[in-house]
């Protein structure tokens, strides 16, 4: 089973990212769970969401405490939330920042894979808004190949309708542009 934790700010789309990944896994006939950190929703405040993917039925029904991967949609959160909390040492963290992967790795002091991508810039270019959910999904899939990008097509089209194409472009660009730190 793969467990992923998403960090974002209310309105950035962390919950949507988790849901899209879950739906793509289910498209591939796998089992998946996608859910937010439960509670009131407040725009701009730190939020978390979770995804589980497995080949068999998932029975576990609590938050993810030891993720295999963490995705951070807003680099500012690195200073206010313990984003690597519980992250498996052999796991990966993918962060939306203009910093290089090496710089971020040093800042986090995390021994596993650290990957960075300037998702905000990509989102401005491709979508015209700084909403980075689908963009970060592309970056994550390069670092941890959980589902095929093609499996996201139907969920993204259902969710985003006419702007699905733009989201897919942003996702593909992040997939190409994400940089992974050298293993220490």
């Amino acid at each position: 089973m793969l467990e992923i934790r998403w960090h974002g700010r209310g309105g950035q789309g962390a919950v949507t990212s988790g849901e899209m990944l879950t739906l793509a896994a289910i498209e591939e006939d796998k089992y998946g769970q996608g859910f937010p950190m439960f509670g009131p929703e407040r725009r701009g405040s730190p939020v978390a969401a979770f995804t589980r993917v497995d080949d068999k039925q998932i029975k576990i029904r609590h938050y993810v405490y030891k993720p295999d991967a963490v995705v951070v949609l807003d680099a500012g959160l690195v200073d206010v939330v313990d984003v690597t909390d519980g992250l498996k040492p052999e796991g990966a963290i993918v962060i939306n920042t203009s910093m290089s992967a090496e710089e971020m790795k040093k800042k986090l002091g995390f021994s596993g894979k650290v990957a960075t991508v300037d998702a905000t810039r990509i989102a401005w270019d491709e979508l015209g808004v700084p909403i980075v959910n689908t963009t970060m999904l592309g970056a994550l899939l390069k670092v941890v190949p959980i589902v095929k990008i093609a499996s996201l097509k139907t969920p993204l089209e259902k969710r985003f309708g006419k702007i699905a194409k733009k989201n897919i472009n942003a996702l593909n660009r992040a997939y190409k542009e994400v940089k992974i730190s050298k293993q220490s």
Partner: protein, 389 residues
């Protein structure tokens, strides 16, 4: 049985989809977190013409239940959904729905009741409805929400039952979870669930009275009839579940067991914590602790006989309550289970852990800890698990 493609969807939306397949005539739903997505999605299905339902946008839950009772009394198939404060506001109408034998179906997105305000999950809202005369069924996952919702009207409208049904769907833990589920085809459901043929209806051409004033000569008979109907409903409920199993392959029982063979200690759970508890049992068994799990699916009528059979060889029962029954010295499930064993020659030691209140995340590790503690129990215990003071 044809293999169906699993569809990924939020469970609240799946509940609304299932309701949309039941040919409901009248829905009166007032949105409240975490039930809101059911209310919203059902109204989308109505607006998109996917179900031919009159959706009454009421101003409160008191009215939503009033509308359902009125509609049901005229012979309409009626639906609502709520939780927490909404369910409390509805409370005075629930015994009316059951006494008038209105086969309404209601989804309850189980949430605590105030104060303090909390929107997450526990069973505090359903417990004050225990004695309202409704059938109450709990679900563990999205697939069960779909199945139990699709079966609810068959149960409610059965001539041997004619009682309203609540499907308990733990708030957030289930309602806000995106997961895979299978849906039967509409044609299969149309066959499984024929149109509602009421026993009696309110109609100006043939006036009659329902639920009116009753003096002592008649009132107790009504109460006895309701109680007998509820007690007797169990065998028909199981009959409907059996038919579902034959058609769709998934089995439901008033009390369900997991690894109880030879278990000295048995954990008892209800609702969404049950599958996590199964993983706790697996871990305990790996450690050599002789533990099994019993899950209460049917909360009302209470499955006393089935429970006795399920736990007959256990030394200790550890009842996990997601609600408190203040002043009784235990949670509501605990109190009911103790009553079951009064009068039995040999009874297990019964311990009670009140846990998961107000949305506390209950982990596999928590079940391991509670199971280990319960396995050593020498006498009855009641504690708020993980709560200081």
């Amino acid at each position: 049985m044809a293999k169906r493609k699993r569809i990924g969807m939020e469970v609240a939306l799946a509940a609304a989809e299932a309701v949309g397949m039941c040919n409901v005539d009248v829905a009166a739903v007032y949105p409240i977190t975490p039930q809101s997505h059911i209310a919203e999605h059902l109204s989308e299905l109505v607006a998109d013409g996917k179900t031919d339902t009159e959706y009454v946008t009421v101003e409160s839950e008191h009215t939503s239940m009033s509308v359902c009772i009125g509609a049901s009394a005229t012979g309409a198939r009626a639906y609502t959904a709520t939780c927490s404060q909404g369910l409390m506001l509805m409370h005075e109408l629930l015994p009316i729905a059951s006494a008038m034998r209105c086969p309404i179906v209601m989804s309850v997105a189980n949430r605590p009741v105030n104060a303090p305000l909390n929107i997450l999950s526990d069973h505090s809202d359903i417990m004050p409805q225990r004695d309202s005369g409704w059938i109450v069924i709990f679900s563990e996952n999205g697939q069960e929400v779909v199945d139990l919702t699709l079966m609810a009207y068959r149960i409610a409208e059965d001539k041997d039952i004619m009682l309203p049904v609540i499907i308990g769907i733990d708030g957030f833990i289930l309602t806000h979870m995106v997961e895979p589920m299978e849906f039967p085809d509409q044609k299969e459901i149309d066959k499984f669930l024929p149109p509602y043929k009421p026993y009696a209806t309110l109609h100006p051409d043939k006036p009659l009275t329902m639920g009116a004033f009753a003096m002592p000569d008649f009132f107790p008979q009504m109460m006895k009839a309701k109680d007998m109907a509820l007690l007797n409903s169990k065998k028909t409920i199981v009959k409907v579940w059996d038919e579902w199993e034959r058609k769709f392959g998934r089995r439901y029982r008033p009390v369900e067991t997991y690894r109880t063979e030879g278990a000295e200690t048995i954990l008892v759970t209800m609702g969404s914590m049950s599958e996590t508890a199964e993983l706790g049992v697996d871990e305990l068994r790996d450690k050599g602790v002789s533990v099994g799990l019993v899950k209460i699916r049917l909360w009302r009528p209470f499955p006393s006989d089935e429970l006795k059979v399920a736990v007959k060889d256990a030394r200790v029962l550890a009842v996990m309550d997601r609600a408190v029954s203040p002043g009784t010295g235990g949670g509501p499930v605990f109190t009911d289970i103790k009553a079951v064993f009064y009068g039995e020659d040999s009874r297990p030691i019964i311990v009670n852990y009140v846990m998961g209140l107000g949305g506390v995340d209950v982990t596999v590790g928590d079940f391991v800890k509670m199971g280990e503690k319960a396995a050593k129990a020498k006498k009855e215990e009641y504690e708020f698990y993980g709560v200081m003071g």
